[in-house]
Structure formats: C-alpha cells, structure tokens
Symmetry: C2
Subunit: 160 residues, 2 copies
DNA sequence: GCCCTAATTGATATATTGTATCGATCCCTT
DNA sequence: AAGGGATCGATACAATATATCAATTAGGGC
C-alpha cells in the first residue's frame, strides 16, 4: 500500500483510464489517493470521511461506491468481502498481468495482511474448484485467521 | 446439508447443548431445522422468513441473529462472510474433531458449493499464514469463483 | 411445590453497508 | 455551438447487523 510511490501509481492509473476511455476526475483522484495512502483496508464510508477530512470537499458515500465499482473493473483496487473493506491493488503500476493476491484477515480485529502463496497451493485450489464445476476462481483469495496481537491478548475463538 | 439425517443431526445438537449447559429451545430448534433442510446458504432474514412460513410462529430477525451467534460458538453452523449467509455444518453429528471446510462461492449468483481440499494445499495456506504472523487460520475457507452456469450464461467478469 | 437466579426472549431503536433512480452538469466530438 | 454520452448530486430505500433493556421462562436448591 505505501510501499509503492504515490506519483507513480497515480500517473499509471491516469494512463490506464485514458487507454480505457474513462476520465480520471477529481473525485476519482481523491478516492484513489486515500486508498494509496491508507495503511489499512477502509470501508466505503471511511473513504468518504477521509476525503472530507482536510478540505472543503463534500464526497458523498454514493459517489465513493460508484468510484469503487469502477476501480474494481479497472483492477485498481480489491474488495475484501470478508471485511467489507477496500484496498489499493499493489500492482497498478506494473505492466505485467494482474497477479494473484491473497489477504489474511484477522477474525477479531479485522487487521489485513497481504501474503504471497506458493504456486502449488494456488494450483491445488484451482483444481479443486474446477472439479466442483467452478470454471474460474477469483485471482484474489481471502483467508480468515487470527493475527499475532489478538492471539496474544485474549482467548476468544475465531468464529468459524 | 441434506445428505445427513435430520433426526440424527437434531439429537446430536441437543446432546451437545446439554453438555455445554445451554438449552435447545423451540426457537433454536426452528432455526437449526431450517438450516438442515435448506439446500442453499441462507441469510439471517431468509431464515426468519422460513421459520415463519408455515406456522403461526413469529420469529424476529433479532432472535435469528442471537441464535446464529450461539450456533457459531457451538460449531453447529458456518457463516459465509463473502456471501453474508449461513450454512449448517456438515459435521454436527460427527464425534471426531471439527473438520476443515472449504466453500466455493460464485461471485455472480452467490451459489455455494462445499469442497474438500487436499491436505497439502491446506498446509501451504497454514504455512503462509504463520509466516505473516497469523498464528491460526480459520478451519473454514471461502473461495470466490464463478460457477459453471454463470460462466456459460454471460461474460461479465468476476469482481476481483 | 415455591422461590431465586440465570438464561432466554421480546421489543424497539439504531448503525452499517450497499443499491436504485433520476435529473443536472460536465466535457468531448462533430 | 450543439448533441450526446459520461459523470455527478441528491434522495430514497434495501439489506445486514448490533445495542439495549425490560419481560418471560426454565432449572436447581429449599
């Protein structure tokens, strides 16, 4: 999220918008900025709040949802459906194809960590999925777990 | 879900409640019945509707949520957080330990299919998770994909 | 059997997340 | 400059979930 250079990502996004025939408007820049600069996954309403935090802008949640939908189509962001939150894709400015992404999500505090699974594990998932008639699994995987901090602090079980 | 015998599951649940010192009340029986007999994952409000469908019962959604929480603690059911729906655990009446469960969820139509991953794939997930500081991943895995029917019918991409 | 206590339920309000709709505005193309 | 599609504003509403507190019910000891 903040490992990549802000300007690089923003201009890459702008280029991809132009190539896709859509506009990279002020609203859209605001939302992408917030997501690039966030070090955690954010809900749509949290994104709206952050857009409105330090300016005279009035970003309605409705617009955030519209822009998030657009960004998902463009593969600029991922929705973490387990957490109902959104994160910036770490490969916006990469020229190569969209990678698989795997996210660990803490069942207690909802902390999110991005990991890289070995290819074999991913292949095993693909195989199991196609055996069940699912022709394509999403390149994105959400895994619910329990982060070190929560594990340490108290013993309440992960809701399975 | 309906591969297991209704009576077997209900009485196993009753036994586990007694052992856990909680009551297996009429309300709770209603909810579990609905989930056992459902062949698809249901939302909390859908469960309430089905409870109220063919009787003079008036199950409020509030009660459904309370009972679902309880059942999750007892490992009677799973919440599919990607779909915001609930399914009966297929191992309520098993004496052995709670198995891993993996659910494929169609990103288009939300159809749910339960699969069994090979141990190696699960181990790979566990390893990757602990490398990232997640001490325990949930035994349940939700995988978003695209079911055969949706793949066939139209070409809209899975939201990644 | 009766009472005490804790578990369970009822009832209501409210928070959070997300979708639908329709008119206004902006901006590119001609 | 005008037409038309993309974008945005504004409002309403649906779906999912939590908080709270009073009322009721059910077991366990006497």
């Amino acid at each position: 999220m903040s490992m990549v250079d802000y300007e690089t990502v923003m201009s890459a996004a702008e280029q991809k918008c132009i190539q896709g025939g859509i506009r990279f408007t002020k609203r859209r820049k605001q939302v992408l900025s917030v997501l690039i600069e966030a070090d955690v996954a954010l809900s749509a309403y949290e994104i709206a709040e952050r857009c409105n935090a330090d300016s005279d802008s009035n970003m309605p949640a409705m617009s955030v949802y519209r822009i998030l939908d657009l960004f998902q189509e463009q593969n600029f962001i991922h929705k973490l459906e387990i957490a109902n939150k959104y994160v910036c894709c770490s490969h916006i400015s990469c020229s190569h194809e969209h990678d698989e992404s795997q996210f660990l999500i803490c069942g207690s505090c909802r902390h999110v960590e991005e990991i890289n699974l070995c290819e074999d594990a991913v292949k095993a998932l693909q195989t199991a999925a196609s055996a069940a008639g699912f022709s394509a699994i999403s390149p994105q995987l959400e895994i619910k777990g329990r982060c070190a901090q929560c594990e340490q602090s108290e013993g309440k079980a992960v809701t399975s």
